[in-house]
């Protein structure tokens, strides 16, 4: 009779013990599964947050001029954990085929000019990211989406619509034409002081992509560069790497990771608590199940000695004990998965209903959770069975049988 046949008969015919052990495994499995779901979802959210929170280092020319060298941008991109950069440059330009909004009659050159601001991405930095400006129509400028964004009052004055061409003339005589891809609005256009010269009025702020800007101003540098990282924990290290590039220049370096820390704090707490809970669950399970198995194994000492006297190897006896417990654990995993699938959602919502932790509340059961449960459960079974059977396997079967025979 092979070890699994003996194991199957044992747990089928010793029903009371099997049911009790199954319940222990079931409670343990359910708790591990819930703990794992919380922990792994929190960890995954934390990891994804590293990039999504837009943690960055901002380099800004102190005078607001385009003095940051162009080649620095590509050098920053080669640094470890730098995911992208957002280059920002601005310059006044003359309208080629449209009229700027003019409130006062300015005699200077700037009276008929506009300010063009070049961005790699208007969504993540600048006035749009700070929600000073809102797009009424069209799309923002992004790395893969070039174009021109104009103010709604400027568009109204000139009868512009999305898709219309717009031409600029630089002081050096260069001209560039682009297509309007978005129309924005600030809400404070009419509250501006009439003394503000035209080029600095909100209506005359025009956002363009870098290709158009370069056509007008050639290899001029940038007024600001935002360097994005996917490793917010090492932001200071990245700053140390960047500083030598701009040493001696009049450039301010600031870091922006407030949002990351605000969102990370509750997650870190959840990760710490759920890790601690998992450890406690595992330790408690090992102790309780080991005690239970040790208690039962004392009554099986004679049985084991008889098996040894029949020529059954100690390895086979260990496998039998493992199979008995592991079979019940496997059944408990099925039960825990069913229960978790049915009730985990409600349980999670009741625990994590706050806005910051809503992602965890929506956590579902996945293969990773199940694999973790199987791994941790197997470790518990292995330790508990090992502890309970080691004394019996080490004992001399002759002594055991002698005691039994009186």
């Amino acid at each position: 009779m092979r070890f699994y046949q003996r194991a199957f008969r044992y747990f089928c015919r010793k029903k009371n013990k099997s049911v009790l052990l199954f319940l222990c495994f079931f409670i343990t499995s359910t708790m591990i599964l819930c703990g794992t779901m919380v922990l792994q979802t929190a960890q995954a959210t934390s990891r994804s947050m590293w990039e999504k929170t837009g943690t960055k280092i901002i380099l800004k020319d102190q005078k607001g001029e385009n003095e940051i060298q162009r080649e620095l941008a590509s050098q920053f991109l080669e640094l470890p954990h730098v995911t992208k950069i957002n280059r920002i440059a601005s310059h006044t330009a003359y309208p080629g085929d449209f009229m700027p909004v003019i409130v006062k009659d300015d005699e200077s050159d700037q009276g008929a000019s506009v300010t063009i601001q070049a961005y790699d991405n208007t969504e993540i930095d600048g006035s749009f990211a700070e929600e000073k400006y809102r797009l009424l129509d069209g799309n923002p400028i992004k790395e893969d989406h070039s174009g021109i964004l104009v103010n709604s009052l400027l568009a109204e004055l000139n009868g512009f619509q999305i898709g219309d061409p717009l031409t600029f003339v630089a002081e050096n005589g260069n001209t560039a034409t682009g297509e309007i891809t978005g129309i924005f609005f600030s809400g404070i256009e009419r509250k501006q002081d009439a003394s503000i010269i035209s080029a600095y009025r909100i209506e005359n702020q025009i956002f363009v992509d870098h290709a158009l800007f370069e056509t007008l101003y050639g290899d001029e540098g940038y007024s600001s560069i935002a360097v994005y990282t996917d490793d917010p924990e090492n932001l200071s290290s990245l700053r140390q790497q960047i500083e030598p590039f701009v040493a001696g220049d009049d450039i301010d370096i600031t870091t922006s990771d407030l949002l990351y820390h605000q969102m990370q704090a509750p997650l870190e707490q959840v990760i710490r608590i759920s890790s601690l809970m998992l450890v406690l669950i595992i330790i408690t399970a090992v102790i309780v199940i080991s005690l239970l198995l040790c208690m039962w194994m004392r009554t099986r000492t004679k049985e084991m000695a008889v098996f040894i006297s029949l020529g059954i190897s100690k390895g086979s006896l260990f496998l039998q004990a493992m199979t008995e417990s592991f079979s019940l654990f496997a059944l408990s995993v099925i039960g825990a998965v069913v229960i978790s699938s049915l009730f985990a959602g409600q349980f999670m919502h009741s625990l994590f209903e706050t806005y910051e932790l809503a992602v965890i509340a929506n956590a579902g059961l996945s293969k990773t959770h199940l694999l973790t449960l199987l791994l941790l459960g197997s470790v518990i079974v292995f330790i508990a069975v090992g502890i309970s059977i080691v004394q019996i396997l080490r004992a001399n079967p002759r002594n055991t049988l002698s005691k039994m025979e009186g």
Binding site: M1, Y10, L310, G311
Partner: protein, 207 residues
């Protein structure tokens, strides 16, 4: 000689000054039934355990078919060379009669149980539902299910009434004489010892 004790001495590790067996030399032949006779503490069960490979002698060696049993794994010796019958039957309580016999070896259990006088109606029952005599017969059937040439029995009639005890002794004799096995029985009953082929008093064996 199928089984032989050669210069065997044994003492417990905790009591090195107290020899249980001292320089025991004896050979057992197939087809005969032996009785190891002696008072409690004379070392009968210890010798049986050494012959069974449940323990190893402090000095000397046990030979099976001329080869030391320690030359190979003792588990192999217990599995293929010897089979054991105990005073308290030692059947496995979560297995049926047939399953208990199957534990003994590869032989089909039903003909052996038939031969032991265990009717078909008992085969699927739990062993705890049998009488003491029936349980001992099942234990002997389990011992016969293996191919072992040596059957070792430690006071097999100790828990049985007189009539059943003689039935079991007759059964063991038949096994020795008809199947050619070497049967070694430990007993302190002089009557039982008188009925076997060779009775060995422990004090004759060297201690």
């Amino acid at each position: 000689m199928i089984l032989e004790a050669k210069n065997v001495s044994y003492f417990y590790k905790a009591q090195k000054d107290k020899l249980i067996l001292e320089n025991v030399n004896y050979g057992f032949e197939p087809g005969k039934m032996y009785a190891l006779l002696g008072p409690s503490g004379s070392g009968k069960t210890t010798l049986l355990s050494l012959l069974a490979g449940l323990d190893i002698p402090t000095k000397g060696e046990i030979l099976y078919d001329g080869n030391p049993i320690t030359a190979r794994d003792l588990t192999e010796h217990r599995k293929h060379h010897i089979s054991l019958v105990f005073q308290s039957y030692n059947l496995i309580d979560y297995l049926t009669v047939v399953e208990n016999v199957k534990l003994g070896g590869q032989k089909t259990p039903e003909p052996i149980l038939d031969k032991m006088g265990i009717g078909k109606e008992f085969w699927k029952r739990n062993v705890l539902q049998l009488s003491g005599g029936q349980q001992q017969r099942v234990a002997i059937a389990r011992a016969l299910a293996s191919d072992a040439n040596v059957l070792l029995a430690d006071e097999p009639t100790g828990n049985l009434d007189e009539a059943t005890a003689w039935d079991v002794i007759d059964l063991l004799k038949r096994i020795a004489h008809e199947e050619g096995k070497c049967v070694i029985v430990v007993t302190h009953s002089k009557e039982l010892a008188g009925s076997v082929d060779i009775a060995i008093r422990m004090d004759q064996l060297g201690k």
